[in-house]
């Protein structure tokens, strides 16, 4: 008996929810939602554009470096067999140069002259290398480059021989 009101309300609950919100309320909520959504993408776009900028910069750097590397055409790109030869010669050249350097201490004058000759050949080699990417006949240039190395090697051999002879001569004279 005490809860007659409660029971009545429970039984007639729907009769109490009879008021209606304005018809345009959803439009307002939708507008708010659009507004909120727009805000987020702005942040997102900022992030994305920053990331895109980084990608673009890296891409440009990569392309630039790639171009530089392309300019630096190697012998191997033209002919594998010549490249092998060249590597072989270069190895021998370094070896001989090291030996020459050892003898050099005894004959500094001579060594200076020898290195000047070698430097001239080296300069020629670099010139050829620079010509290689643009040359219409790359095989020809490569041949010249390998020939240059061969000459360097021959020269070194002779230089070593001379230095050896000079050393021998000096030793004999000392005795």
């Amino acid at each position: 008996m005490n809860n007659r009101l409660e029971t009545f309300v429970k039984e007639n609950r729907k009769a109490f929810d009879i008021m209606e919100p304005s018809a345009d309320l959803w439009a307002k909520i939708e507008q708010d939602l659009d507004h909120k959504k727009k805000k987020k993408p702005v942040k997102l776009y900022l992030w994305m554009s920053a990331a895109a900028a980084v990608v673009v910069v890296f891409g440009l750097v990569w392309l630039y470096v790639g171009k530089l590397q392309n300019k630096d055409l190697e012998i191997a790109d033209v002919s594998a067999s010549y490249a092998k030869k060249e590597v072989h010669f270069t190895g021998l050249i370094t070896e001989k140069r090291d030996s020459l350097a050892i003898f050099a201490s005894a004959n500094p004058e001579l060594y200076k002259k020898f290195t000047a000759d070698l430097r001239k050949l080296d300069e020629d080699y670099e010139k050829l290398k620079a010509e290689l990417p643009t040359s219409p006949n790359q095989t020809f240039v490569v041949k010249a480059m390998v020939k240059n190395r061969e000459i360097q090697l021959q020269l070194l051999k002779q230089q070593l021989l001379i230095i050896n002879q000079v050393d021998d001569y000096k030793r004999v004279n000392q005795i």
């Binding site: 007659r4 009101l5 009545f8 309300v9 929810d17 919100p21 309320l25 959803w26 909520i29 939602l33």
Partner: protein, 169 residues
């Protein structure tokens, strides 16, 4: 995102009317109730990721609506306990409705006429189905206050209904 907008509209259609009435019962002002409704739906949709299926979406939304409505009331500097009335204890038959011819629309109208403190507690208990422990938590009052406020509200409601009955006769 278009699909989710359609889903949002479905939820709105499903709950807007009930939630509007919840807010309106607490606030008694249509404009404020609509503001609350707008904010509540916006909140619910943007925080839907936070919603864990421990309760239903409806109960969760109702909680948001009620909290927002109470905040609006507080902005109006509404006090839930008026100390000058605290000594008044309603007698038993003052909330005995057994002899009355009850009509939903009359009760609804009478609730609107209740003072803010009474109306909120009575609405939460009688219509939103919260118990006094929950009401105490929502309004940050003691459970006992919620109980006495409810009894007084019921008494007042009865007197309003009686007055109306007398006028009608």
């Amino acid at each position: 995102m278009q699909g989710s907008r359609a889903a949002q509209f479905e939820l709105y259609k499903l709950y807007a009317k009930a939630m509007y009435n919840v807010a309106l019962r607490i606030l008694n002002y249509e404009e404020e109730a609509e503001d609350v409704l707008q904010e509540a739906f916006l909140d619910a949709f943007t925080r839907i990721v936070d919603f864990r299926q421990e309760t239903t979406f409806g109960l969760w939304l109702k909680q948001i609506v009620i909290n927002k409505s109470i905040n609006y009331l507080r902005k109006r500097r509404m006090e839930f306990v008026s100390t000058d009335e605290i000594s008044e204890v309603p007698d038993e038959d003052s909330f005995d409705y057994s002899e009355m011819q009850l009509q939903a629309e009359e009760i609804r109208q009478a609730i609107i006429q209740l003072p803010d403190g009474y109306r909120v507690v009575l609405s939460l208990y009688l219509l939103e189905g919260y118990d006094h422990e929950e009401i105490a938590h929502i309004l940050k009052i003691s459970e006992n206050t919620s109980r006495t406020q409810y009894m007084r509200a019921k008494k007042k409601l009865k007197s309003i209904l009686e007055m109306k009955g007398m006028r009608d006769e």
